[in-house]
């Protein structure tokens, strides 16, 4: 990237004229860095495929994911049922396809909710310090003192199951981590001269937090957020296993892994297939997270 960027004084300085330098586009550079690494491309392709699958599920699925057929239960993979059928004869392949919708919906909403709330709290704690810091940090301490699953169980148990409750429970559980990470990063960013320079320019607290501190603390968090999507999908699986997650017969990957485990020896594909789907999703989002961070973080520019 160094060949198209001029730094420092150019001959134009000495000549007193303005010589146009070759123009370079920031967007093109980001795309080039991102797609320069095979792993990132693979992750990106996986995520794109998952999103397309979720959108076009009705056309991709071969069967109705809800229709039971007890005459064809627990079948091995065949041309009719590509990944076999489950204990009540539903087509596993179609259920995985529809499960993508549920997983992505829960993953995106829970993570964005916890990220927005957690990051705002972390920013405020780091920026204002003092009693604001104390209150917010004690709140996250309290959240973190409870084992994650118990907190989520408590919320889901009190409010009953269902997708909105799962999103709220998992999102709430993620706040503490997001808040902690943001706070730590923001505290170190806050020490920089440009934050003082921002104050010297007459910026308000809001402006300082959002334009000076947040953009500098955010890139490392991007990895946490994308990894969080994988974690939330796993969390939803745990809840579904305990019967307070996504309610059957709604297809959810976690629920499928768990309901398939009774037949693990006889019919392993029932658990394996949704397990692989979860794994691919987690891998895909992690890779995209890494790639995006490498590409957009100006501090890494020229390093990669």
């Amino acid at each position: 990237m160094s060949d198209d960027i001029e730094t420092g004084e150019t001959p134009a300085d000495a000549l007193g004229g303005e010589v146009a330098l070759p123009k370079h586009s920031e967007w093109k550079r980001i795309v080039r860095v991102f797609f320069g690494r095979t792993l990132y491309v693979i992750g990106f392709v996986i995520v794109v495929i998952l999103i397309l699958t979720a959108i076009f599920a009705p056309w991709i699925a071969t069967h109705d994911p809800y229709s039971t057929d007890l005459r064809h239960k627990l079948e091995q993979p065949s041309t009719e049922h590509w990944l076999g059928t489950d204990a009540v004869g539903r087509d596993t392949y179609s259920r995985i396809i529809y499960g993508t919708q549920i997983s992505l919906l829960i993953g995106f909403s829970a993570v964005s909710a916890s990220a927005i709330v957690g990051m705002l709290m972390g920013l405020a704690a780091a920026y204002f310090g003092g009693w604001v810091f104390a209150i917010i940090m004690r709140f996250t301490d309290a959240l973190m003192a409870l084992p994650g699953i118990i907190l989520v169980l408590l919320i889901a148990g009190l409010a009953g199951g269902g997708i909105p409750v799962v999103i709220f429970a998992l999102g709430f559980g993620g706040i503490a981590m997001m808040c902690r990470m943001m706070c730590g990063l923001a505290l170190s960013v806050k020490q920089n001269d440009y934050v003082l320079a921002g104050r010297a320019m007459g910026m308000s607290h809001w402006r300082m937090m959002l334009t000076q501190i947040f953009p500098n603390a955010f890139p490392p968090l991007m990895v946490g957020i994308t990894m969080g999507i994988g974690g939330v999908v796993l969390g939803e699986a745990g809840l579904s296993f305990l019967g307070i997650g996504v309610m059957p017969p709604t297809p959810s990957w976690g629920g499928m892994v768990n309901s398939g485990q009774a037949y693990l020896l006889k019919n392993p594909i029932l658990s394996l297939a949704p397990g692989v789907a979860i794994m691919l999703l987690v891998f895909g989002f992690n890779m995209v997270g890494d790639g995006v961070r490498d590409a957009v973080d100006p501090k890494l520019r020229g390093v990669i």
Binding site: V19, A20, L21, Y194, G198, G202, R207, P298
Partner: protein
């Protein structure tokens, strides 16, 4: 010449774990319109803290304990440090150029956005006008090919160029006063000269006062019209620049000038005389003159009396010393 800023008896203390540090202890100075002032002293003498106090940028554990900062007929210390009046003053009427150009620009935001933000904030410009103005400002400070460089990120600029951007940002709202905190310490000598010439040109053009904080006597000798010399949190000598260089009267200033080589020295191979000893610890300072342990002119009176107040020794020349050094040189 009208007085733009009048600081009276400013005291900024830091409450540290080791005790109370009186970083600025009763400093008074004033700035006239369009004037270039040099604030000189060694590291830790309170130069930076003084100007940060004026802009109310002192953060905990620091605290402005006492004093008056009269600006536009108002005492700035009456305003809340982060209140709307102070925010409208900072960046608009008083701006600051920092020492480290490498870290004083936000690395993840383009130069354009950083410059237009101030213009939008203080002058209510819309994006487009602000961008045009920012390009014009970059041209003024000598950034080549400003129209396309403006969309770059700070890391694409060299140190000297970044300092030019900082200067452009500092003058962007036509402020009354620019504080430059060791603006050229982090750049090499040739760039130093360019930047200082640039700043001098710009402040004359927009009729702004400039305060250069530095430990480099060469810089103030060339550019400042008036000089304040600080030692251990106080001003020990002040006066017109030429007068201070030709006729220094405080033992500390004399020591400073004796310890740097001067071009065109009469006696060719005159030896440099260092100031012996170390600057005092600002915690638990004795009530007597802080320079006393290092002073070569001290008298018995100095050991007994408290640190003297500034006294006039002639045309606008003030020193805080009991001894009349002139007879003894």
């Amino acid at each position: 010449m009208s007085v733009v800023l009048d600081v009276e008896n400013l005291k900024t203390y830091f409450h540290t774990e080791y005790g109370l540090v009186k970083a600025v202890d009763g400093v008074s100075f004033h700035i006239n319109q369009g004037e270039i002032i040099g604030l000189v002293g060694e590291s830790g003498c309170g130069k930076s803290v003084s100007i940060l106090s004026v802009m109310q940028l002192i953060q905990s554990p620091g605290e402005i304990v006492d004093g008056k900062i009269m600006f536009e007929g108002q005492d700035l210390l009456q305003y809340e440090a982060n209140g709307p009046q102070m925010r409208a003053t900072r960046g608009r009427k008083m701006t600051m150029i920092f020492q480290e150009p490498m870290t004083s620009l936000n690395p993840v935001i383009t130069i354009c956005r950083q410059m237009t933000e101030i213009l939008e904030l203080h002058l209510d410009m819309d994006r487009h006008t602000a961008r045009e103005r920012a390009i014009e400002l970059l041209r003024m400070v000598g950034v080549p090919d400003a129209a396309s460089r403006i969309d770059d990120y700070p890391h694409q600029f060299s140190g000297g160029m970044r300092q030019r951007v900082m200067i452009a940002m500092a003058i962007s709202c036509n402020p009354m006063i620019i504080f430059a905190d060791e603006p050229t310490t982090a750049v090499d000598v040739t760039t130093q000269a360019q930047l200082l010439e640039l700043m001098k040109d710009l402040v004359t053009r927009i009729n702004t006062s400039l305060v250069i904080v530095t430990h480099n006597l060469g810089v103030v000798a060339r550019y400042a019209q008036r000089i304040y010399v600080m030692y251990a949190g106080r001003i020990v000598e002040s006066g017109p620049a030429e007068d201070i260089f030709d006729n220094p009267q405080h033992p500390y200033t004399i020591g400073l000038l004796d310890s740097v080589p001067r071009l065109g020295e009469k006696h060719g191979s005159k030896k440099l005389i260092p100031i012996y000893g170390l600057p005092p610890n600002l915690i638990n300072m004795p009530p007597t003159c802080a320079f006393l342990p290092r002073c070569t002119y001290k008298t018995e009176k100095c050991e007994k009396e408290p640190w003297p107040a500034l006294r006039s020794t002639g045309d606008n020349h003030y020193i805080s010393c009991y001894v009349d050094v002139r007879g003894k040189q």
